[in-house]
């Protein structure tokens, strides 16, 4: 429904724009009324010249991707991914603005469905001191590598865990982004009129630990969360104020909205998205032949500031420090250390039902990234791992990608989860560990 609305808006804008251009370029001479057939010929000539001149670029790819679990999961299918996908990307850089439409159609053999997923459908209008981008768009900011503190734009964790291209970790936002530029600082404002939650774990395709049953759950107990979805009332507002100081990128962030994945339950036991405000900052720049980054954020859980409500997440402080550098030619390494500190931890422990295992006050995660390019950079070996010393769990993502020629690429990889406990963030996904392989033709 939402998709159709956006396509209509896009098409309407296109029409207005084109007819507008036609009107402007039409010769205004009231004395000359050409014969009807000539006028018609003229019309088709114009259409012809317009299609020749209209700068439309069409690209995309076709892809087949297949994979399976290597552990038995009683709640899910053995096939973790099996899909054929086609992406179309239309881009029109016009005189005063640019138009973008990018959408995927894929046949999914796991859900036995054909899906249409519009990734982008937007208009960008640049001004001297300001850029405006309205419509469906992918948004990213912040300094983390696959760890997000101040980037509260929607993520698609299911796609990430089942081995789709990393592009799909970012789910689209239906938003207006207004960016102001000044010598002193730049300001990005992103307004999302209707809350865009993460495409998170619901039990469909990926099983999870259900704290109420104390057991793993999947297709048998899908989470149906009640999203706040009233237009212009359940909105999200995100802002970033940033500037470069020499080679260092400094930024301040603010967010008003909701926990992006269910952050609590209502009294009926249904998952909910409580209110969330985030305040943060980051800095990134060169350090000893590498790039270092530091980012912090305060997650203010507005519905449970005291931490006394066991049904809603407590507030958190989140910290991230990272460093990446070249270790040898075409070989880079990156390290990150991330901490989630629960605020009012004593109250959380005090009010937590006895049946639910308590989390640590400080959840810590380390990540390691190693990337090696070989064979004239056509072969890429990459290894990314999350390891949590506090949760004692691991999520490893080794991957190999080879570009056979300018158009054709193959890739294969693993998503491996393990941990000491069934209820930790990565540990709960142990039985979802999978491998995948894909062939992609880009044009």
């Amino acid at each position: 429904m939402k998709n159709r609305l956006f396509i209509n808006v896009l098409l309407t804008c296109l029409t207005v724009l084109l007819t507008g251009q036609e009107l402007l370029s039409a010769p205004l001479d009231p004395n000359s009324t050409p014969p009807a057939d000539l006028a018609q010929k003229d019309f088709w000539d114009r259409i012809g010249s317009w299609t020749r001149e209209f700068p439309l670029e069409i690209h995309g790819f076709g892809e087949v991707r297949a994979g399976g679990r290597f552990l038995n999961d009683p709640h899910e299918k053995d096939m973790s991914i099996m899909e054929t996908r086609m992406q179309w990307d239309f881009f029109a850089p016009l005189e005063q603005m640019s138009l973008k439409y990018k959408a995927d159609v894929y046949g999914d053999f796991v859900t036995k469905d054909v899906h249409y997923d519009m990734r982008e459908g937007n208009i960008t209008v640049p001004f001297e001191f300001m850029d405006v981008k309205v419509g469906r768009q992918i948004l990213t900011w912040g300094t983390g590598d696959l760890i997000f503190i101040n980037d509260l734009f929607p993520k698609d964790w299911v796609s990430f865990f089942i081995g789709r291209d990393t592009e799909y970790l970012k789910a689209p936002s239906d938003a207006a982004k207004v960016s102001f530029f000044h010598d002193w600082a730049n300001l990005d404002l992103v307004f999302t009129p209707q809350f865009d939650p993460d495409r998170g774990i619901t039990g469909e395709r990926i099983s999870y630990y259900d704290p109420f049953s104390g057991d793993l759950a999947g297709e048998n107990a899908k989470i149906s969360a009640g999203n706040p979805d009233r237009w212009f009332r359940d909105y999200e507002l995100a802002l970033r104020l940033y500037r470069n100081i020499n080679s260092y990128e400094c930024a301040l962030y603010g967010y008003r909205g909701f926990w992006k994945s269910p952050g609590g339950f209502d009294l009926a036991g249904r998952a909910i998205y409580p209110d969330l405000n985030v305040y943060g900052s980051s800095i990134r720049g060169p350090l000893a032949q590498g790039i270092a980054n530091l980012e912090v954020g305060y997650y203010q859980s507005a519905d449970n500031e005291s931490g006394r409500d066991p049904l809603v997440k407590n507030s958190e402080m989140r910290y991230l420090v990272g460093y990446t550098r070249e270790l040898a030619r075409d070989f880079t390494g990156g390290l990150q250390y991330y901490v989630e500190q629960m605020v009012n931890y004593d109250n959380y422990v005090c009010f937590l039902p006895a049946s639910i295992p308590a989390r640590d006050e400080y959840r810590q995660v380390m990540t390691v990234r190693l990337t090696k390019l070989l064979m004239n950079q056509n072969l890429r070996l990459s290894f990314f791992t999350y390891y949590s010393p506090s949760d004692s769990d691991v999520y490893a993502r080794p991957q190999i990608n080879y570009k056979i020629n300018d158009n054709l690429a193959i890739e294969s990889g693993f998503n491996v989860f393990f941990g000491d406990y069934p209820y930790t963030f990565f540990g709960q996904f142990h039985r979802n560990s999978n491998f995948y392989a894909a062939v992609r033709y880009s044009f």
Binding site: H59, L169, K170, N376
Partner: protein, 277 residues
């Protein structure tokens, strides 16, 4: 009056001719002029670049392919924008990829610093994720986009990195031998640059490895004068060890265009009209 003027002209021309033939400029002057010629023409510039990377089955020790057998042919196409912060000094580069399809719309941006103490700032923009990445400056002798050109070949190697020695002056060229100040940081022992005596354009570079064996060559195959600036419009690098060669063809070359400061995050996320139209 007329005679005296032409008399002066003759004297002047003779003087110039003498200067060109007899007086050999100081080696530092030559390399400085050649550097400006190769990397600093105009205040800024724009060009479309087509790269063809060809891997051969066999190649002789002079870098000529033996037979027609090719292992693979890859292409790259991008628009490059350059702006000089200071002539002979810092520069900004903006590279907007158009081909191959899987990297289309990707932007690579460099704030180049010639001061050896300061690393270049490199940014990469991935449009599918709307992600601005910083890339560790690291090794400048890494392949540029999988071609046989290195980062340093594209944006220039700082003159302060090498010791320069004029080893030969031929009828057409000054031949400069360049030896690295920090030999462990590079894979070559030295390289010779052939600089056109007329206009100071470097037209050929020959690299020798640690054992003194010739293994790599960069040559200007076509030079055109664009807006009064001599410009290399076709260049080729041959790597004998890799049995691979890359041709780089420049078209739509323009100098001194009206270019705002587009070397910022704003224009990574929204490429300027200079590259998308």
């Amino acid at each position: 009056m007329k005679t005296s003027l032409s008399g002066i002209m003759i004297v002047l021309l003779a003087g110039l001719a003498w200067a060109a033939t007899e007086e050999t400029p100081d080696v530092d002057k030559i390399v400085h002029k050649a550097n400006l010629m190769a990397y600093y023409q105009g205040n800024n510039g724009r060009a479309r670049v087509e790269m063809t990377i060809t891997a051969y089955e066999k190649m002789d020790d002079k870098g000529n392919p033996i037979g027609d057998e090719k292992k693979s042919v890859r292409t790259r196409e991008f628009i490059i924008l350059r702006s000089d912060v200071q002539d002979g000094g810092d520069q900004n580069y903006y590279v907007y990829f158009q081909k191959p399809a899987d990297v289309r719309g990707m932007v690579f941006m460099v704030h180049k610093h010639t001061d050896l103490k300061q690393d270049d700032d490199r940014y990469l923009y991935l449009p599918a994720l709307d992600l601005v990445k910083r890339i560790a400056a690291g090794d400048k002798r890494t392949s540029f986009v999988g071609s046989d050109f290195l980062y340093e070949d594209v944006s220039g190697r700082s003159l302060l990195e090498d010791k320069h020695e004029l080893v030969e002056t031929t009828e057409k060229y000054y031949v400069i031998k360049n030896s690295p100040g920090a030999p462990d940081s590079v894979e070559f022992q030295y390289y010779n640059v052939f600089i056109d005596r007329q206009n100071f354009m470097p037209v050929k570079m020959e690299y020798y490895d640690k054992k003194g064996k010739f293994y790599r060559r960069i040559e200007a195959l076509k030079i055109e004068t664009i807006q009064d600036y001599p410009t290399v419009t076709l260049s080729k690098v041959t790597d004998i060890n890799k049995k691979s060669a890359t041709e780089m063809k420049f078209s739509e070359v323009q100098y001194d265009i009206e270019l705002k400061d587009i070397f910022t995050e704003r224009y990574l996320r929204r490429p300027p009209r200079e590259v998308i139209r």
